[in-house]
């Protein structure tokens, strides 16, 4: 046992915080820059970028950019659309991808290895390269809704949701996490006669807190930042998401102040979602009793 004097411990603690804080400064400056800039008129904003003034709320400070942004574009509508599409996709994605991963890791079925290889291979396909075939497909897909049988998914919410529910990354996240869970637990409950559905619901998913949080935030980010796809399949303002909305601000004389205000506004939901998940994250860590 080493003897640790209280002073020494205090110093070590201080060093730790110092390191953490310096790194924090490196990571938070764009957000600070964005928010501070959103309070300044464009001309001052551009002059300030040359110095540390960019990070300080000094000069001509007001909320004018925010009211101007709301005047220029239906910001509330865009955020609503993005939140709706993102929220639904995340929930469905967590459910369906975890089921697929569950099946791959715990069940033994013909074709399993092939399916996993194909899923992994899809990680290599960048979305940009399949967008055109997907567009042709989406314009012809059938749907049964309130108004009966229709074809063509353009200008809807579903065309922004359904294609992105299942993706290789999310499935792979679950697969890697499930591999580390104790298989004896599953086999034991199998012997006791539990159905696969029960095992999924009562044993595996309750243990999946950390990976659910990780998968959720990653999916959230990917969906919230969608640009190319909604641009191609949505021609009506009422379904437009936030990143397409950003283009409303790139006029010939770019209003940087308004852009910063808009960006600050659309970043709030993502940050809130992450903070919320982080708490859930901590809770699930606490429940499994893992120490740092």
């Amino acid at each position: 046992m080493a003897l640790v004097s209280p002073d020494n411990r205090g110093l070590r603690l201080a060093t730790r915080y110092a390191v953490l804080t310096i790194i924090a400064l490196i990571f938070c400056f764009p957000l600070v820059f964005m928010i501070m800039s959103s309070l300044k008129p464009s001309e001052q904003l551009l002059l300030d970028t040359a110095s540390l003034r960019a990070f300080l709320p000094i000069g001509d400070i007001s909320l004018d950019n925010y009211s101007a942004a709301f005047k220029r574009a239906p910001v509330g509508l865009f955020v609503f659309n993005s939140m709706l599409v993102t929220g639904v996709t995340v929930v469905l994605s967590l459910l369906i991808c975890s089921m697929t991963a569950f099946s791959i890791v715990f069940l033994n079925w013909r074709g399993r290895d092939l399916v996993l290889s194909i899923i992994l291979a899809t990680l290599i396909v960048p979305f940009e390269t399949i967008a055109i075939p997907m567009l042709l497909l989406a314009s012809k897909l059938p749907w049964i809704g309130l108004d009966g049988f229709t074809t063509g998914w353009l200008n809807t919410y579903r065309v922004q949701i359904v294609p992105f529910i299942a993706d290789g990354l999310t499935i792979y996240l679950f697969v890697q996490y499930f591999k580390d869970l104790p298989h004896e637990l599953i086999e034991a409950s199998r012997v006791e006669g539990a159905s696969w559905g029960q095992i999924y619901r009562r044993i595996v998913m309750p243990l999946a807190g950390p990976v659910l949080a990780t998968a959720a935030i990653l999916k959230f980010l990917a969906m919230y930042n969608q640009y190319l796809w909604p641009l191609m399949v949505v021609q009506q303002e009422q379904y437009r998401p936030v990143m397409v909305g950003l283009q409303y601000f790139f006029q010939l004389n770019i209003a940087w102040g308004e852009i910063m205000a808009y960006l600050s506004l659309i970043t709030v939901p993502v940050l809130a979602f992450y903070l919320f998940l982080q708490r859930a994250f901590i809770a699930s860590i606490a429940s499994t009793g893992v120490k740092g």
């Binding site: 764009p30 569950f102 079925w109 194909i118 990680l123 390269t129 399949i130 086999e187 990780t214 930042n225």
Partner: protein
């Protein structure tokens, strides 16, 4: 025997669980990708009144075609080599051989990719599409730098942030902030920072060196542009992988750490023999995800440099989009994506094979 197969083999349940996810992927990723593969053997345009024709491997040849030519130095009337001011021999212009020269039909339309001296002569490697070759090379550089650096830094941050300290959640949130902001937005912000005249980076560097540092046009200089984009990309995405590492760290059983503590192992030993083995699956995941994302490098390029200056930041996906959409050559764009797919697939197969051998 019967019990064991009942335990583990369950075709019906297995497919039932996997089908919703796998089925959606077949419809929305795999089928469109097969369509893209089919397009790469045609001359299909994004929009055109001309009929689509099967062209075989023509798209692949025009992207990947390479050639070689060795030129003798120019000589004056007396047979002496003509040298330029610095004393190096001069050579006839390449364009005399590669443009509409009936003696060299195979080289028609090619451009210099690289060259070297062999005695008095100079040997040129020519490529039918030099820009694409640059794109492949740049992408590989990007992947080779970003994968280890970003993965390592992310692990360091995850370990740092996994401590039990008061207020650690605040830091955890801050480290993740760059990920929360869309890459398009981050690229816009960094353009201000990298600005060549009065950008923040130049100003900071010049005040740190008391003015000795002369400003660099980070994105406008072919020597620094790719490096600048690499730096920004690592900074932006490192929090993403930190989160994946973190969730991996959570799966390591606390009893192992307790045992290590009782054994009196050092911090490094604990990491080496407890933490790292426990992160094996996570490490594979992080490496694969970073590699895939790095190969898909596009948004940063699109916002910050459009592939310039002098092709120093061309990438494979940027070229695919530029051709497929910008130049309406959807078959050319599809060909590039198939080539990318083959490159990445071979790399991961080689990776797999290597790791399998070692075990």
């Amino acid at each position: 025997m019967a019990t064991s197969s009942k335990l583990t083999s369950s075709n019906r349940a297995g497919w039932l669980f996997a089908l919703p996810g796998f089925g959606l992927m077949v419809v929305f990723i795999i089928l469109p990708f097969f369509f893209a593969i089919a397009l790469s053997f045609t001359n299909q345009r994004l929009i055109s009144p001309n009929p689509t024709e099967f062209v075989g491997m023509a798209n692949y040849k025009s992207l990947l075609g390479v050639g070689m030519i060795t030129l003798e130095p120019e000589r004056d009337a007396s047979g002496d080599i003509i040298r330029d001011d610095s004393g190096a021999p001069t050579y006839p212009k390449l364009r005399n051989f590669t443009r509409k020269n009936p003696d060299y039909p195979k080289l028609d339309g090619m451009r210099e990719w690289t060259s070297w001296q062999s005695g008095e002569n100079r040997t040129y490697v020519l490529a039918r599409d030099v820009v694409f070759m640059r794109a492949v090379l740049n992408t590989l550089i990007f992947v080779l730098v970003v994968a280890p650096v970003q993965g390592g830094l992310a692990l360091g941050l995850a370990l740092l942030i996994n401590q039990r300290l008061r207020g650690i959640n605040v830091y955890r949130a801050i480290y993740f902030m760059p990920v929360v902001v869309s890459i398009v937005v981050v690229s816009l912000l960094w353009r201000f920072i990298y600005d060549g005249n009065n950008g923040l980076l130049n100003n900071i560097l010049s005040s740190l060196t008391f003015g000795a540092f002369s400003p660099i046009d980070w994105l406008g200089n072919p020597d620094t542009a790719l490096g600048s984009i690499i730096g920004m990309s690592i900074w932006q995405a490192v929090g993403f992988h930190m989160v994946i590492w973190l969730s991996g760290l959570q799966t390591i059983s606390p009893t192992l750490y307790e045992a290590a503590e009782i054994e009196g192992s050092s911090k490094w030993q604990t990491f080496r023999y407890v933490t790292w083995p426990g992160l094996r699956n996570t490490a594979v995941l992080v490496l694969i995800v970073i590699t895939m994302q790095a190969f898909a490098l596009f948004s940063q390029i699109d916002v910050m440099t459009s592939g310039g200056p002098l092709d120093s930041t061309q990438t494979i996906v940027f070229q695919a989009v530029e051709r497929g959409y910008g130049k309406q050559d959807i078959s050319g764009g599809s060909t590039i994506s198939v080539i990318l797919f083959v490159i990445v697939l071979s790399i991961s197969l080689i990776q797999r094979w290597l790791t399998r051998e070692r075990r």
